[in-house]
């Protein structure tokens, strides 16, 4: 039988998963829960039974979340964040769709590109389901270190992919890297149509945006874009997702609020 402290930690986590994310609200509900459990135990009820009754009296997280959302500033902020996230994803999907259509010549390559895009979006949307499986990290300091480590790992992973793996799949006079961050690399093919694309300069290894004048004519550089400016977006997005996921999952343990 799990002891009371473990049950409270699991309950906090359950509430967080159900949408009660604010540590302050969770602390207050936990304080209430403990008071109720203690009072019942003074009346001779077992700890396990007292905990069950107290949890039931506080109610389910979803119902509470809806009540908190009705009036709180947090509710408005959450809606704003969701709107920004939807806009960001829509922009990414638009860019990827344009890229796949213009840079992938065959139907097979386009299908692979769209599948990759779908998988990435599904992974992003499925992230919350993964959160409850993550471990609890009671110490704030340790949690912050892990968040930063995840962010750096995400950055490193994507930089490795873009700088080391991706160039092996590209060919052409300047090792062309079309502007695709969300899709699979094409298999040994240059852009099929005259659309703007990115090139990595052989000398200084920086990226240039190439805008062809017309098919077959000499293209020219229009601007130089630092590597991090363009390809930094994806690693930051992934790293940020990892960090946020961990921060959400890693609820504070009871000993921290009583300290």
């Amino acid at each position: 039988m799990p002891d009371l402290e473990e049950q409270i930690v699991a309950w906090r986590r359950q509430m967080a998963t159900g949408g009660i994310n604010s540590p302050s609200i969770l602390d207050e509900l936990e304080s209430h829960l403990r008071e109720d459990v203690e009072r019942q135990m003074r009346d001779g009820i077992s700890a396990e039974r007292a905990f069950e009754v107290a949890v039931k009296k506080i109610g389910p997280a979803r119902a509470l979340k809806n009540e908190f959302k009705k009036s709180s500033v947090a509710g408005v902020l959450e809606k704003l964040m969701i709107a920004i996230a939807v806009l960001f994803v829509a922009f990414g999907v638009f860019l990827s769709t344009v890229t796949i259509f213009f840079c992938y010549a065959s139907l097979g390559e386009q299908l692979i590109g769209f599948t990759a895009m779908g998988l990435i979006i599904a992974t992003a949307c499925g992230w919350p389901a993964f959160v409850p499986l993550l471990p609890i990290i009671p110490r704030k300091r340790k949690r912050q270190i892990i968040e930063v480590a995840c962010l750096l790992a995400g950055l490193g992973l994507c930089t490795f992919y873009v700088q080391i793996i991706l160039p092996h799949f590209e060919r052409g006079p300047d090792r062309i890297i079309p502007g695709r961050t969300w899709t699979l690399p094409p298999v040994g093919r240059s852009p099929a149509r005259p659309v703007p694309y990115l090139v990595r300069n052989a000398q200084d290894r920086r990226l240039a945006l190439i805008v062809p004048r017309k098919p077959g004519s000499q293209s020219r550089d229009t601007s130089i874009i630092p590597v991090i400016g363009f390809f930094g977006l994806l690693p930051i997005a992934i790293g940020f997702g990892l960090a946020c996921g961990l921060a959400r999952a890693a609820q504070r343990a009871p000993e921290e609020i009583t300290a």
Partner: protein, 110 residues
């Protein structure tokens, strides 16, 4: 048992009235309302907190964490000036409803 709609409607007035007697915290507020109503007014415990937070956002009440002797923390709420004004308004409204009902029932059962 009083239906939940009436319990919800009276929540703010009850909380403001209790806090006008001095600062208190969630669990104590629930226990006091329950005791004073002979268990007829029963909130789902968790539902008190969204109401308290809404009242705090309205500027009616303020809160502070207090460390107890056993090391635990409690969040205490107390009335602000705007809360006292809100309480006066709500008291006038409830007394009006009460007056009309008393008047009607007085006529009916006279």
């Amino acid at each position: 048992m009083i239906p939940k709609e009436l319990v919800a409607a009276s929540a703010e007035a009850l909380i403001l009235s209790l806090l006008s007697k001095g600062e208190s915290y969630g669990y104590a507020i629930i226990q006091e309302v329950r005791a004073r109503s002979d268990n007829h007014l029963q909130w789902t415990d968790g539902m008190l907190y969204p109401v308290l937070h809404r009242m705090e956002n309205n500027g009616w009440i303020k809160s502070r964490w207090v460390k107890m002797e056993n090391g635990r923390k409690r969040k205490y709420y107390s009335l602000k000036k705007d809360g006292t004004r809100a309480l006066d308004e709500q008291r006038a409204q409830w007394l009006k409803v009460h007056g009309v009902l008393t008047q009607l029932w007085g006529e009916q059962y006279a």
